[in-house]
């Protein structure tokens, strides 16, 4: 998909994220809006995965480590045709399979996540086997900045470099906020690029809400032969809705009717 079309998709996805969160009266709004451009580029431009090849072992793998932002993933998968979009009207309702975290009950979702700090390890296992099988499969995950405090991530950082998993790409949705406070106050990550480089990863920093930058960067994978790739994607929590941007309470805030209308107007 071309850049212009991708940019239009992002607008559509943002509208849909809000629509289904508003309808469910639940969801992780801020982090879904920050991560959506990354998911858009991955699914519509970079990854070899679709409803048609989802049963093939040769599909690329995506595991959403920051599982709470499942609304962004649901919206993209629906658009790709994995399931009818109107299913999302049952989000978080009694007996609906569309719960508030990624679940394999939904076609298109690879792993059940929601506990933070699990995705990268699973991806390491995927990537190592793809190497052993000399398979073209590439493996992707998206992490949250708060999530980076989980020790399991750092165990996986060591592993991926040790096994030279250059078919693995981890992307940090670096929106600078978590639940309690800014990431820098809760448990600072900086200097992150130096830490990851010291762990043996090839690192790039980009504007993670810029479709063009995302496309260029993800099209140049692996950044270095023999090394896993890490994208520090600087994003804005609540991106696209002025009153949500960089405001802590929109981590899992649900808009009122009035706020919802306002948001839709901003997106048009």
């Amino acid at each position: 998909m071309e850049i212009k079309a991708l940019q239009e998709k992002s607008k559509l996805y943002r509208r849909n994220i809000l629509k289904y969160i508003y309808n469910a009266k639940a969801g992780h709004t801020g982090g879904s809006l920050s991560v959506i451009d990354i998911l858009n580029v991955l699914y519509n431009r970079i990854m070899n995965v679709s409803p048609e090849n989802f049963d093939s072992n040769l599909r690329d793998r995506y595991v959403q480590s920051k599982g709470h932002c499942v609304e962004a993933l649901y919206v993209v998968l629906a658009d790709k045709g994995f399931f009818p979009e109107e299913d999302l009207l049952t989000l978080c309702k009694y007996q609906s399979p569309y719960i508030g975290h990624p679940t394999k009950k939904i076609r298109g979702i690879e792993q059940n996540t929601g506990g933070l700090g699990h995705g990268l390890s699973i991806c390491c296992g995927n990537a190592l086997m793809a190497k052993k099988d000399k398979s073209p499969v590439r493996v992707f995950t998206i992490l949250g900045d708060g999530e980076m405090a989980e020790g399991s991530n750092w165990e996986a950082f060591m592993f991926a470099a040790h096994y030279k998993l250059d078919n693995l790409c981890a992307i940090l949705d670096y929106n600078k906020l978590q639940i309690t406070a800014p990431n820098a106050e809760v448990m600072g990550l900086e200097p992150l690029d130096k830490k990851l480089e010291a762990f043996g990863w090839a690192v790039r920093q980009i504007d993670g809400n810029d479709i063009e930058a995302l496309t260029q960067t993800l099209e140049s994978l692996p950044f270095e032969q023999g090394k896993p790739s890490f994208v520090i994607a600087h994003t804005t929590k609540g991106k696209g809705i002025s009153y949500m941007e960089n405001v802590l309470k929109w981590h899992h805030g649900v808009p009122t009717a009035e706020q919802y209308e306002m948001a839709l107007t901003e997106l048009n």
């Binding site: 508030g100 996540t113 506990g115 999530e147 989980e150 639940i179």
Partner: protein
């Protein structure tokens, strides 16, 4: 029964901690980006020197709390029950229990409180895994009164304790003004009856109290309701006393039917020769249905209606 629905036990926990910290500079709260979900923002504002933020790193949370406790402080490690007791289980087993560091582990939004967020966020395993670990007390308060008492008594405990509660508004005191006796390790009778007994814990006590009223009014069945807030050590004296009448016993918990309160009571009864009609009500060993906590409770019969039906079936046969 005479009670009014008041606040979430979570709220009472936070208020109690603040009142303790006013007098006691040894109180330390340790959080893993869980200050908001633990209702601890006011605590943090009032006692910024007595709160330690770990970030989203539950294993580190428990290890650090063990280190704080071993320096003679009263460490309350606060995190959602699901992550605290699964992610950090080895730290609980080794650094808290085995090394005997008297940490107070506070599992918030326990059971299925997180509703439609799904199984990653549910804790239906915590009684089971912790019951199998030596040197830990397990408490699950049912109402605001029990919560406050539990926190006050836990602050003075010199051995490890796990306290879990949900976030739904609960009664101030299920036994009204009467029965304001509370001791960790001693079950609390919140209603006396003669035909059968509910032994329940945590937020599952309230539906038992409601079912007991319906059973009495509409079916003439009079029930005893026990809040078995302490799951370990279990109040065996009370349970065996109750069982002596030979009447049915129903245990009710917001936990898997495997390894929780029900199996603890069953084991006690069987090994002491009691053969009362017996039923364990909890979450079955299955994918948990999606929905809110209330919907999940109703789905599995942890509700006024479900428990009434369970009793009618049990007493008919």
């Amino acid at each position: 029964m005479n009670y009014t629905i008041n606040k979430a036990n979570l709220e009472v926990f936070s208020e109690t901690l603040q009142s303790l910290a006013e007098q006691d500079s040894d109180i330390y709260v340790v959080t893993s980006d869980s200050r908001g979900s633990g209702k601890l923002v006011p605590y943090g504002q009032r006692f910024p020197e007595q709160i330690v933020e770990i970030g989203i790193a539950e294993q580190n949370l428990v290890g650090i709390a063990a280190g704080i406790a071993s320096m003679g402080k009263k460490a309350f490690a606060v995190s959602p029950a699901c992550f605290l007791t699964a992610r950090a289980l080895e730290q609980i087993k080794n650094d808290v229990c085995y090394s005997d560091n008297p940490v107070k582990l506070i599992g918030i939004s326990a059971g299925v409180s997180y509703g439609a967020l799904g199984s990653t966020h549910h804790s239906l395993h915590d009684y089971a895994v912790l019951r199998a670990i030596n040197n830990i007390t397990i408490v699950s308060p049912s109402d605001n009164f029990e919560t406050e008492q539990t926190i006050r008594q836990a602050a003075e405990m010199t051995s490890p304790v796990y306290i879990r509660f949900g976030k739904k508004n609960m009664p101030d005191s299920l036994s009204g003004e009467a029965g304001r006796d509370f001791k960790i390790g001693k079950g609390r009778i919140i209603k006396e009856g003669k035909d059968l007994t509910f032994i329940a814990t945590g937020e599952a006590v309230l539906p038992c109290a409601k079912a007991a009223e319906v059973l009495e009014k509409e079916h003439g069945i009079s029930c005893t309701v026990v809040s078995m807030h302490t799951i370990k050590p279990l109040d065996s004296t009370l349970i065996l006393n109750i069982a002596a009448n030979g009447k049915p016993i129903i245990t009710v918990e917001e936990h898997s039917v495997n390894g929780g309160l029900g199996e603890a009571v069953a084991s006690l009864l069987f090994q002491n020769g009691s053969r009362n009609p017996f039923k364990i009500v909890g979450l079955p060993d299955d994918h948990t249905v999606s929905g809110s906590q209330v919907e999940i409770f109703e789905h599995y019969g942890i509700s006024e209606k479900g428990l009434t039906n369970t009793v009618l079936t049990l007493t008919k046969s």
